[in-house]
Point group: C2
Chain length 230, copies 2
DNA sequence: GTATTAGTTGACCGATCAATCAACTCAGGG
DNA sequence: CCCTGAGTTGATTGATCGGTCAACTAATAC
């Protein structure tokens, strides 16, 4: 076949591999299957990627690039309240779980447990993906810092949200039920509400500091994101 | 070789497969490797287990039997306070993470993401393992129900704890750092403390019911479990 | 028009995969 | 003492694994 548009083959390989890794995992996906579904010959794959693992790394790089335009942007465009944005992102994963009939969860979390112990290079990129996600949530929380008690560290709270989300996706897929996911989001809301409503110092260890009582700031309940507030 | 003690070969296969699945995952572990490390010939494996997947199912059944004697009992023997018991169990997984240098996390969570979408029989058993764990935690919380605000449902809170633990193990292994795990436990403690300290109704949706203010019940801080209170 | 080179092709490689099976061993029952 | 059958053996199967390579195509550079 003639030479295609620049990197078209490469991009189709990355996209196809992404989907298959997401649905079946890395090890369980054979190169032959990727080639077949991408409509590419084996030689072409190895022209762009010396090994199967290099293709995996490209997929992980791709995810880093996708976070902003595909995960954050659509939510941020609809919601302006920083805390609602966090729940909006969580709602996005909820939709993915249901729409895919539990076949797809968090693409990164999927690969994290499979590869962290055995594929160092992949592990590093997975960690970077987590960090990017965490940073985005932390930024939202930082913008709502005036509503949170002093002593609450946005980056730690963001890590907590990520932890919850990954665990919730795992359980929802295992039970084939949205209950564990909604339960996690509901309890997170309850926790956040207690933080927002509480003017006192956060009770966690890190150099707690007393702060004057703040007015209660209500946050909405339920999983679905609401209209933006102009 | 002569016939060994009854089921000795079978048990060695299950134990060896358990370890390898834990460290490498199911797909990445070849039958040949299991045979080599167990010191068993291929024919013997297929005498006991028609397929590799049947061996996996036996491993998952084995885990269900291990929950009580290996996970709960050692903690329950040291701690009597029901809430401290929950944190004691969480501490156990912390120790495993560190002792194994991040090679071993929650054995069930490991397999959950890898197999839930593709191996229905395994998925069912994984869900049963989760449920057993969840039930144990819920039982602890039920025993501490008088210290929690009315409206808090122990089974939902237990599911929340499981969610957190699984997410925390995933992140700790990915970052090769205990920070995400300790962060999750710390925030869980903070959340629980707020629940315990709060006499008001739990603010989550399910048929909330007002209840009279309860006396504050302090819970200890930090990850390590403390001495039992006789 | 010729040289260059990015990109493509598919046959082919040895290794490993899960699984099979006919032959064998040996403890326990009669 | 022989028989039976639970348990063991390891060579072997065909499929699939990730990966190689020499030949080829076509767009661009000169």
């Amino acid at each position: 076949m003639m030479a295609r548009a620049k990197n078209e083959t490469r991009e189709r390989l990355v996209e196809t591999a992404r989907q298959l890794f997401l649905r079946q995992g890395y090890t369980a996906t054979g190169v032959a299957q990727i080639l077949a579904e991408a409509g590419v010959n084996s030689g072409s794959l190895y022209y762009f990627f010396p090994t199967k693992e290099d293709l995996l790394l490209a997929v992980l790089e791709h995810y880093k690039e996708l976070l902003c335009p595909r995960v954050l942007r659509p939510v941020y465009d609809r919601l302006s309240d920083p805390i609602e944005r966090v729940f909006g992102v969580l709602h996005g994963y909820r939709e993915l779980l249901i729409a895919s009939d539990w076949r797809e969860g968090c693409p990164i979390g999927n690969l994290a447990l499979e590869l962290s112990a055995t594929h160092p290079a992949a592990r590093r990129l997975i960690a970077e993906n987590f960090s990017a996600w965490r940073d985005a949530v932390a930024e939202c929380l930082r913008r709502a810092a005036d509503r949170l008690p002093a002593g609450v560290r946005p980056d730690q709270l963001a890590l907590f949200v990520l932890t919850l989300m990954e665990g919730a996706v795992m359980l929802a897929r295992t039970y084939r039920s949205i209950e564990p996911y909604d339960n996690a989001v509901t309890q997170l809301r309850d926790y956040l509400e207690r933080l927002l409503a509480d003017g006192t110092t956060w009770s966690a260890p890190k150099r707690a500091q007393a702060s004057p009582r703040k007015p209660r700031a209500r946050i909405r309940r339920g999983t679905a994101p609401r209209k933006r507030s102009p």
